[in-house]
Amino acid sequence: MHPVRRKRLITIAIIVLVLSGAIGLVLYALQQNINLFYTPTQIALGDAPTGVNIRAGGMVVKGSVKRDINTLFVSFNVTDFKHTVHIEYHGILPDLFREGQGIVAQGKLLSNGTFLASQVLAKHDEKYMPPDVANALKQAKDNTPSKPYNDN
């Protein structure tokens, strides 16, 4: 390779390597801020601050959802299968909200450990299935309380 080109190649390689290293360190240092939500374990360990706006995420525990008949109040537990957080929310839930679904709630952690949510977002996974397959699976197992989507 021509020496001038070799020099340019090495210069560019060094620039890119140093920059990647710098960005990698920045991302590593900011890890806690880049994470969208606190897991129930982090909350149980006291990593999450109380009284300020944060997000908590986890799986809605089956059988834990309690709705108020007269208002939009709803309470449920979320878990990461190690610890559980109790969440209280007053508002409209997303369509995908159901027991066993992953959710992310925004709100404040109270000192008694209850999470008072101002917004609830639903997560979904990358597994897609036609309704009839889902029904067949459900009949086969029949222990999932999840309701298949039914419009039209």
């Binding site: 560019i12 994470n35 969208l36 839930l93 977002l121 990358e126 299935m129 309704p131």
Partner: protein, 248 residues
């Protein structure tokens, strides 16, 4: 097999002649594939048990997101080639490709937003995946802006190439954002290691869409490079013969 045809593509003259033959079939195949893939996906593929018909946005969202990243990777390679070997075709490619990549990133962000509202419950959330794709879009904007802003063409091409190369660092961040951090966005639909987690009737049209998006973009970029060659080499005598030969 000889690689001379490949090396010849580095010269605007050879590329111009080659592109006249290849751009139309590649582009048409891409358009045909997009029509077949989206029609299959939107009308004939089954809906999702959980999300219903909203799920069908995947047939636009995933191809555009994959292309937004692939286009940037190609820009990074072209930028690198230009900075080291100073090939004439590299900045022409960057100039032709950057707006296409920007549009792909914009479609990915826009369709993702429309998908997010009914499923997640929000148009936008500052999680690692969404934010890093927004950064990708901004990088495209930066490349387009700097290549057009500087009057000195060599300097403009070099500056754009530097952004192209440096911005490649963002690609692994986008790819692994859903693995490294907890995000609202779900993990990748397609991966090289395993089959997608959906039946064939759902991923087959998606695969057709992804492949035909690639063909569509390839055809489009070859055409745009032709235009850019016409603009840059308008004084060259070979181009005059070429254009006169076409009867334009």
């Amino acid at each position: 097999m000889s690689w001379s045809w490949f090396h010849k593509l580095g010269s605007p003259k050879w590329f111009f002649q080659w592109s006249k033959k290849w751009a139309p079939p590649v582009f048409c195949l891409g358009v045909l594939g997009i029509v077949v893939g989206t029609a299959w996906g939107l009308a004939f593929a089954p809906k999702d048990y959980l999300q219903g018909n909203v799920f069908r946005i995947i047939y636009l969202h995933v191809p555009s997101a994959i292309l937004a990243e692939s286009c940037y990777l190609s820009l990074g390679i072209a930028g690198f080639v230009f900075l080291v070997w100073q090939m004439k075709m590299a900045p022409i490619f960057i100039k032709a490709m950057a707006p296409i990549g920007a549009v792909m990133a914009a479609i990915a962000l826009f369709s993702g937003s429309i998908w997010g509202k009914p499923t997640w419950g929000t148009w936008w959330v500052w999680d690692a995946r969404l934010t890093s794709v927004l950064v990708l879009f901004m990088l495209y904007m930066g490349i387009i802006a700097i290549q057009n802003a500087l009057d000195d063409r060599v300097l403009a091409d070099k500056a754009a190439a530097v952004i192209c190369v440096v911005g490649v660092i963002n690609l692994p961040i986008i790819k692994y954002s859903v693995v490294w951090w907890n995000t609202l966005h779900q993990p990748a639909t397609f991966s090289f290691m395993k089959k997608p987690d959906m039946p064939e009737v759902m991923w087959m049209p998606l695969l057709i869409c992804v492949v035909s998006f690639y063909l569509f973009v390839a055809g489009l970029v070859i055409w745009r490079m032709q235009t850019e060659i016409l603009r840059r080499e308008h004084r060259a005598s070979w181009l005059k013969t070429e254009v006169v030969g076409d009867g334009i």
